[in-house]
């Protein structure tokens, strides 16, 4: 039986020396869908993330990737099966260039490396591999820095390199770990726009773990909310965010304050942001079949944002 879900997690349980970090958490991500996962500090987001990726072994529960049970698989096996990721604190390969990051991922994906090939001098990247990498670099707007050592990139560019590296593995689902951390509002928007454009072109799914509620509201169509290791709400993003349970338990008055602070911090960008936010909310409220809307939203929004984005990068 082929499951439409690219990622299906059921009944994940994890305790750390008696303290329950995750209690019976289940979630699904469909092909090509954008799903958010939020929760206050200590809610268990990172633990869940690590269980999905195979960094942690859950005490109970199952992780299925494309209908295959990968619960017992190691991290790199899951990656080979189509699970890409980015890191909250960026993890890049020091002492290498931007293009080499993608080249190595490409080589691992098509699994064409062999010891004897290396020895015979046939291990160097070939033209096909280089052009595949350059295509992705162009798409990310990193074409100009392809030869640049990774140390001299900005944080925003570094995060894009992570995305590009993950893309080279041809993922079915991309797990983004707080992509906005360390970025300011405009950089975050630029990243979201680029990601959105690529996602709608390639059709992989995204699971976004985020602190930045605004980004989640704009970017995702469905949302899971985690608190004290349990899912307290899930459903379409706008509705879930608006639901009183989530507002009371998690966002409270804090969200409003944070939003205001952001607005005050960079006035010039406030317009675009508010515009996008309103558009998202309006779309969400107007069309009940949300998944479809979400996709349209994903496909429709970025072009509007892209000119500005291109300039930023």
């Amino acid at each position: 039986m082929i499951s439409p879900d690219v990622l299906a997690v059921s009944g994940i349980k994890k305790t750390f020396s008696g303290i329950v970090a995750l209690d019976d958490v289940s979630l699904t991500v469909e092909t090509g869908e954008r799903v958010g996962l939020i929760g206050p500090n200590g809610a268990g987001k990172t633990t869940l993330f690590n269980c999905l990726l195979g960094i942690l072994r859950p005490d109970a529960g199952q992780v299925e990737l494309n209908g295959v049970d990968v619960t017992g698989h190691r991290v790199h096996k899951r990656a080979q099966a189509g699970m890409g990721r980015t890191f909250q604190r960026i993890e890049l390969f020091s002492d290498t260039t931007v293009r080499e990051h993608l080249l190595i991922a490409e080589r691992v994906r098509n699994n064409s490396g062999a010891f004897w090939k290396d020895l015979l001098g046939r291990g160097r990247p070939n033209a096909a591999e280089i052009s595949a990498c350059d295509a992705v670099l162009e798409m990310l707007g990193l074409g100009e820095v392809a030869e640049v050592p990774i140390e001299s990139l900005s944080l925003g560019q570094g995060r894009l390199v992570e995305v590009g590296r993950a893309l080279m593995t041809d993922p079915q689902i991309l797990l983004l770990d707080e992509p906005s951390s360390g970025l300011d509002r405009s950089e975050t928007n630029a990243l979201a726009a680029t990601l959105g454009a690529i996602q709608s072109e390639r059709g992989f799914a995204i699971l976004l773990v985020e602190h930045d509620v605004e980004l989640v509201a704009e970017f995702t169509t469905r949302l899971y909310v985690l608190d004290f290791g349990q899912l307290i709400a899930h459903g379409p993003t706008t509705e879930t965010l608006a639901s009183p349970a989530v507002r009371n338990a998690y966002l409270g008055a804090g969200a409003a304050v944070a939003g205001a602070a952001d607005d005050a911090a960079d006035p010039p960008k406030a317009d675009t942001k508010r515009g996008l936010g309103v558009a998202g909310a309006a779309d969400g409220a107007a069309d009940p079949p949300r998944t479809d809307t979400g996709r349209e939203l994903g496909a429709g929004d970025p072009p509007g944002a892209e000119p500005g984005t291109g300039g930023e990068l």
Binding site: A114, D118, G121, R122, A166
Partner: protein, 697 residues
């Protein structure tokens, strides 16, 4: 009934016998944990520090005839803490945010440099057959037997008493003084502690002084109990046991280190009492019996690393605020201007032609020998380029791998009269297999633990395997030596030194080309990715374990091949001179100091090892420049120990410039020249508006 009671009596006796050593192990383990806790330094130079104090005490007593209290005061309470403070102030304070592995390399360098430095400045030479004296008069000859089972010597009782006092004082410091609390805080995060208004530097200096004092105390106490002579390599073993003890406490628990040390002392003593009896009944245990007692610490350590669950979970001490450092400067451009490339090529060809022709036509036998040694050693050093330069793993057992190659050639030639060239390939393959198998259980440990496991393996090989008749030759080898013939290939007899040099060069060139291909190929890129970020490498589907096994096997193969060439060259295995574990520590230090990531680095290290002493220290080069031997100034020849000091201290820069001193200089020079040439190109471009190709790769 009688049997049982005699068994119990033996058990009690061996436990009592093991207590004094166990107490010393505990002391070293505590000092070890203390440095690790307060500065994140896994101090392999601890043995060297213990040795310095012990040697100082010995010299003060026997040559200067100082009184015991004065000797103790100077060697343990003045010299030892002074060394600790100096190391902290001038070295480790600046390395606090460096990775644990690079700090480990620095301490390996120190463990090579410190004993030589002391021996030169204190004018101390180890005297064979002269037993070290203890801190009490007639410590080795007066015995007390309180239980009627095992007579303690005065030295042993004194050691136990002093250590008990030291532990109590330390416990009091940690529990009742603010500095104890601060020391614990500094471990967590030096910067965080400083933000709280505590001078982390002062605390860490105090910890270093304290732990260094412990090292000195341990050295002075253990020398009369365990050793017949006072040489620096013995003290390495003490550190080993202490690492094992400290590992039981996952390097962070002082009480567990204490218990672990005493426990190991007992365990070793009990084992040494009972193993001979089992061996009487089981003949296959005999080679073990004869050699195992020496190797027990290493076996225990290896077993702890593999099986102790705490270590599997342990992670390196990381400063949560270390990420706020600015990123390291971008490496100098790897691209060279095409003119520069041409010039380098021209120079290299000219240089090698000159050296080659000189060696082949003008040099006498001894110089041909030295040059061949350099080439062969360079081949061995390429194995370090692969494992440390590419994979970023510190392997301290390259000497053992090389020895496997050498011994295979010896055995094959001795027993089966096999062609030595074929035997060399077989030996290299066996080394590769051993490397892969050895790395298998400890691969996941990574970082310093993997390095320590390789060191344990090196010492185990040294203490047990070499003595096996089917490896090191056993009794035959003792009687006749481990002779190896030179190869004969068709009409060419490599018995001629110059043709063997040609063969060595060919082997080195082929190996270098293979290494370069690996670096540019999938393996090299994969390893670079893992070294850059292991989690990120895994996230794109790379299996770090697989890649590391490949790296270990490749590296061991190259080492085995080089080792085989070395034995053919010297027509003997010469295990003690060529492949001893401490010797291979120096190999690593040498390669890392010069340039660990490049083939040229390996070649330069090979040349440095075999020719630095005759060329520089003996003044040959100077004499050649002055064209007259009798005009050599009086300070030649300089002691060969300076080799250890210079390169040992050179390893310090590894934390800052992991690419190596030579490579660092080269990168800077290249960058400077590139800029100039680019500027020249620019002006030409402007004036002529002609096309310019830019840099060539």
């Amino acid at each position: 009934m009688i049997l049982a009671s005699s068994f119990l009596e033996d058990l009690l006796r061996s436990v009592l016998q093991g207590t004094p050593s166990g107490a010393v192990f505990a002391l070293v383990a505590i000092g070890f944990v203390l440095t690790y806790k307060t500065s994140g330094v896994f101090n392999l130079a601890f043995g060297a520090q213990a040795y310095i104090s012990a040697a100082m005490f010995f010299k003060a007593r026997t040559q200067w005839n100082w009184s015991i209290p004065l000797s103790v005061l100077v060697s343990v309470f003045v010299l030892a803490p002074a060394i600790g403070v100096v190391l902290e102030r001038f070295l480790f304070r600046h390395l606090r945010t460096a990775s644990a592995v690079s700090k480990l390399v620095v301490t390996i360098g120190l463990s090579v440099a410190l004993p030589a430095l002391f021996e030169i400045f204190a004018d101390y030479a180890p005297v064979a057959g002269r037993a070290p004296t203890g801190i009490v008069p007639e410590g080795g000859s007066v015995f007390y037997d309180p239980l009627g089972v095992y007579p303690f010597s005065r030295d042993e009782l004194a050691a136990m008493g002093v250590i008990l006092a030291a532990v109590i004082v330390l416990g009091a410091i940690f529990r009742f003084t603010p500095v104890g609390l601060q020391m614990r805080a500094v471990v967590e995060s030096p910067r965080m502690t400083e933000l709280n208004g505590i001078a982390a530097d002062r605390v860490s200096a105090f910890a270093w002084a304290l732990s260094s004092t412990f090292a000195g105390m341990a050295g002075v106490l253990i020398a009369p109990i365990r050793f017949n002579t006072l040489i620096s390599t013995d003290f390495f073993n003490v550190v080993f046991v202490a690492i094992a003890a400290a590992a039981i406490g996952r390097l962070v628990s002082l009480p567990r280190a204490l218990i672990g040390g005493i426990g190991l002392g007992w365990f070793i003593a009990v084992f040494n009492t009972f193993l001979p009896r089992w061996a009487d009944d089981h003949t296959w245990l005999r080679p073990l019996r004869d050699n195992f007692s020496n190797s027990l610490p290493f076996v225990v350590l290896f077993a702890i690393l593999v099986f102790w669950p705490a270590i599997r979970r342990a992670t390196d001490v990381g400063d949560p605020l270390s990420g706020v450092d600015p990123p390291p400067a971008a490496p100098a451009a790897t691209e060279r201007h095409r003119l520069l490339t041409r010039f380098t090529l021209l120079f290299a060809v000219g240089f090698f032609l000159f050296v080659g022709l000189t060696v082949f036509f003008r040099a006498d036998r001894s110089w041909v020998f030295l040059v061949t040694s350099a080439v062969v050693l360079s081949t061995v050093y390429l194995s370090i380029t692969v494992i440390t330069g590419f994979a970023g793993q510190i392997s301290l057992c390259q000497g053992a791998f090389a020895a496997i190659g050498g011994f295979t050639v010896f055995q094959m030639a001795d027993r089966f009269d096999l062609s030595v060239l074929l035997a060399a390939l077989i030996g290299a393959s066996i080394a590769a297999l051993v490397g892969a198998i050895m790395s298998l259980p400890v691969l996941r440990l990574g970082g310093i633990w993997l390095a320590i496991a390789t060191l344990a393996f090196a010492f185990f090989f040294d203490a047990v395997l070499v003595r096996m008749s089917w490896i090191g030759g056993g009794d035959t080898a003792l009687l006749q030596g481990t002779r190896v013939p030179r190869p004969i290939l068709g009409p060419i007899d490599f018995g001629n030194d110059k043709s063997f040099l040609a063969l060595a060069v060919v082997v080195f060139v082929i190996t270098s080309l293979a290494v370069i291909q690996l670096r540019e190929g999938t393996i090299g890129r994969t390893l670079r990715a893992i070294r850059g970020s292991e989690v990120a490498a895994e996230s794109i589907g790379i299996s770090p374990a697989k890649a590391r096994i490949a790296a270990f096997a490749t590296s061991a193969f190259i080492a085995g091949l080089g080792g085989a060439m070395m034995t053919m060259h010297q027509e003997n295995v010469n295990y003690q001179n060529n492949f001893s574990p401490v010797g291979s520590l120096f190999w690593l230090v040498l390669v890392v100091t010069l340039s660990v990531r490049t083939v040229e680095g390996a070649a330069q290290a090979g040349a440095a090892f075999s020719m630095f002493e005759p060329l520089i220290l003996k003044g040959e080069l100077f004499a050649w420049l002055l064209r007259a031997e009798h005009r050599l100034p009086g300070f030649f020849p300089i002691s060969g120990k300076w080799r250890f000091i210079l390169f040992g201290l050179g390893a310090m820069q590894f934390a800052r410039h992991p690419e190596g001193l030579l490579e660092h200089g080269k990168r800077r020079a290249t960058a400077g020249l590139n800029r100039r040439l680019a500027r020249r190109d620019q002006t030409r471009l402007v004036s002529r508006s002609a096309d310019s190709g830019g840099g060539a790769t």
